[in-house]
């Protein structure tokens, strides 16, 4: 007992605390576990969601009143470029791949992804790509004393990106960091395809795979042929800028229009790369909260594959005002309208799933239903814009901004929120607060509609996108003020959400394995799942393996073919 007579302050545990912190941090840096990488992806994207959201707020403050000087015109250009680039490449793609990483192996009854080390490598490529993009704010010799943040729009149209018009390194930061994160994306896409095809547990035939896995596989296949053209075009851009090449140099016979084509060959399928995972999330959440199996599973699979193919043929509908031939215009009008068919099939299938179901309006379901309505409207304005003459009138106006924010926020962000509320208990072992969740939903929903519904009108009144300020006598003042106010309402909603994430991690209700009474394999594991996922390799006989276990007298495999 001699040691007790010398009361040295502190305990052994405290003495080791810094070391344990380091160990904990180290375990996250060197991890190859798909669940940890999935969480890293998601945390990384939520961080950038807040950053790019703050950029959007700055844009809205600047536009709230005419002749405002909240930011300088140069900084304004950087803000909208960085807002777009961040939201697409550092929020949209990583968060969806984060969910894929976390869920695909769990859903197909595997213990990890097909290539765990490639998985970690891809994440860190993506992460450092994002850091490099933001380093541009302080890095290099900045023009206007504001660093070198990209200021050429997220589509970086030639010839603005030529050395003569974009001196300094802003465009280089844009191209290089997206090439780096693009390789990360390619690695993850390869990994998801290999996982879904090669790692399924016994009995998990392709037609029994959860729709989430199916859609993410389609998305990954699209990513293979979508991100790579952007990488190729950016390499050309760098050749032009650094080696004195002439790809987009009209004086030497090159063509800026070719950049437009190459960019949108990437850019339009990219929209579907982002929205199909949102569909995937809805496919999992809507049946669980309707207490019914998904309606028309094979049709859903076929529609997803159909969207994947059709979306590769529609890119030039971004270019109607460029002056293409009548034949190309007509082709791209029709191919764009064609996307409406498989998408419509999906909407009707979701409605049919809801129909006659015992619907529970928990927070994930609220967001999923919000998605359903908003995505319908987004699709309808999409069909309107696919008509070339209509597009001639409204191209580059706030109507287009409203349309794609309806897709990106109204559909994708809503589904991302739904997914976080739905799978948070699985990843952390605790439920997110329903009260805060409902506050988040309603405030965000109202803010969303105030902002983006109003934007349609502003577009029809002729306000163009990407402008720094406007004249007070154009009749845009009130609408702009309303839009900006709506933006702040949304920001409040997002802050509630961020608080909910932190609060529930410490104070949330214990979740148990299966808080939603769901049917896919991830809910059969403890929450959070152990490193090895499944102690015994599962064997499945139907699309809803947990239903079979819970209802042995009435299992699905009796009816499924």
């Amino acid at each position: 007992m001699a040691d007790q007579t010398l009361p040295i302050p502190g305990t052994l545990e405290e003495a080791h605390r810094p070391a344990r912190m380091l160990e904990w941090l180290h375990s996250w840096v060197v991890t190859v576990d798909h669940k940890k990488l999935g969480i890293l992806y998601i945390v990384y994207s939520i961080f950038f969601l807040l950053v790019a959201g703050a950029e959007a707020m700055a844009i809205r403050i600047q536009l709230a009143i005419p002749h405002n000087h909240f930011v300088s015109p140069e900084l304004y250009n950087e803000l909208f470029t960085m807002h777009g680039t961040t939201m697409v490449f550092l929020v949209g793609m990583p968060i969806l791949f984060g969910f894929a990483n976390y869920l695909v192996p769990l859903m197909i009854g595997a213990r990890d992804m097909a290539f765990p080390r490639l998985n970690a490598f891809s994440f860190w490529l993506t992460a450092f790509g994002g850091l490099m993009l933001y380093f541009s704010f302080i890095g290099g010799f900045g023009s206007y004393g504001m660093g070198n943040a990209p200021d050429v729009g997220w589509f970086a149209y030639a010839p603005l990106t030529a050395k003569a018009f974009s001196p300094g390194h802003s465009t280089d930061y844009w191209a290089l960091s997206l090439i780096v994160s693009g390789f990360g994306t390619l690695g993850t896409a390869i990994n998801i395809i290999a996982t879904a095809l090669c790692m399924r547990c016994k009995g998990m035939t392709l037609m029994r795979m959860p729709l989430f896995v199916w859609l993410l596989t389609v998305v990954s296949a699209m990513t293979l042929v979508t991100i790579t053209p952007l990488t190729a075009a950016q390499v050309m851009l760098l050749i032009d800028r650094y080696l004195g090449g002439h790809f987009f140099d009209a004086q030497a016979g090159g063509s800026p229009i070719v950049w437009l084509h190459f960019f949108w060959i990437f850019g339009h399928p990219e929209v579907y790369v982002l929205v199909l995972p949102a569909f995937a999330i809805a496919n999992e959440i809507i049946p669980v909260f309707s207490r019914k199996a998904i309606f028309g599973y094979p049709a859903m699979v076929a529609a997803s594959v159909g969207i994947g193919f059709v979306s590769l043929t529609v890119w030039a509908h971004h270019m109607f005002t460029v002056g293409m031939t009548a034949v190309s215009n007509s082709f791209f009008v029709l191919s764009t309208m064609l996307v409406g068919i498989p998408t419509g099939i999906k909407i009707f299938n979701w409605l049919a799933t809801l129909w006659g179901g015992k619907i529970r309006f928990a927070t994930p379901m609220l967001f999923a239903v919000g998605f359903l309505f908003q995505f319908l409207i987004a699709g309808l304005t999409g069909i309107m814009l696919s008509v070339a003459p209509w597009d001639w009138q409204l191209h580059n106006s706030y109507f287009v901004i409203a349309h794609f924010h309806y897709v990106l926020v109204g559909a994708i962000v809503f589904c991302i929120f739904a997914a976080i509320y739905f799978w948070y208990p699985k990843a952390t072992g605790r439920m997110m607060s329903e009260t805060l969740g409902k506050w988040h939903f309603w405030i965000f929903l109202i803010g969303f509609h105030i902002t983006f519904d109003t934007m349609h009108f502003l577009g029809i009144l002729g306000m163009p996108r990407s402008i720094f300020t406007y004249e007070p006598d154009r009749g845009w003042n009130t609408l702009n003020m309303i839009i900006s106010l709506g933006g702040f309402v949304q920001a409040i909603g997002v802050l509630i959400f961020a608080w909910n994430l932190i609060y529930s991690y410490f104070k949330g209700k214990e979740a148990g394995n299966d808080p939603w009474d769901a049917w896919t394999l991830e809910w059969s594991t403890p929450s959070p799942p152990p490193a090895y996922n499944f102690a015994v390799d599962p064997v499945v006989r139907s699309r809803r393996p947990l239903w079979d276990i819970k209802h042995p007298q009435d299992p699905d495999w009796k009816y499924e073919r």
């Binding site: 490639l118 991100i227 790579t228 050309m236 790809f247 004086q251 030497a252 016979g253 090159g254």
Partner: protein
């Protein structure tokens, strides 16, 4: 119970993840090449000044070397599958030699273009598209050579045996892809575009 498939271990077969992964990579790489090939074709004859593709000489010997390396690598795959490590090492070395010959041949061709015809990547539009496309392919040959050299290194260290046959086949897939792309690049640059 008649609808329930009973799974014995041998009846549940999934594709090899190495192959699926490599095929996916090849699809992605093909898209990169497609963009460069389309740019090359679109820009044929659009340059406003400087040398034209007429200055190119068709690299027939180079092409024969690269394409026959596909044959030697198939034979090497076959050898390792049957556990003949010595034969494998020999054929693998031959493949590498053919690959190196291709790179040396390209270097000689470029030396002539740069110093005799005064065509560099910045000279004109043709120079930009030509060096980008052929250079992109040459880069892939270099990456392939790195992969081949690693396998060669392990073979010389005595670490490669029959059990690695599938991994070697996956790497060989990449090499075949590099060869097939050369067929496309060769056709576009030296036959259609000249």
């Amino acid at each position: 119970m008649s609808t329930v498939p009973i799974f014995a271990d041998e009846s549940w077969r999934l594709p090899s993840r190495g192959r699926v992964g490599m095929f996916s990579l090849i699809v992605g790489e093909s898209a990169i090449f497609s963009i460069f090939v389309v740019a090359y074709i679109y820009y044929i004859g659009r340059g406003t000044y400087g040398p034209t593709p007429q200055i190119l000489e068709v690299p027939i010997f180079n092409t024969i070397c690269l394409l026959s390396s596909s044959l030697t690598i198939v034979l090497a795959e076959h050898a390792i599958k049957h556990g003949k490590v010595r034969q494998f090492a020999l054929l693998w070395g031959l493949t590498m030699a053919l690959g190196i010959e291709f790179l040396v041949g390209t270097a000689i061709e470029w030396r002539k273009l740069i110093f005799v015809d005064h065509l560099t990547i910045r000279t004109n539009l043709f120079g930009t598209t030509y060096y980008s496309l052929v250079g992109l392919h040459a880069t892939h040959v270099v990456v392939g050579m790195i992969g081949l050299s690693l396998v060669m290194l392990f073979t010389l260290m005595g670490r490669v045996n029959q059990s690695h046959a599938e991994r070697i086949q996956v790497l060989a897939l990449y090499w075949h892809f590099v060869d097939v792309v050369w067929v496309v690049v060769f056709t576009v640059v030296y036959i259609v575009g000249r």
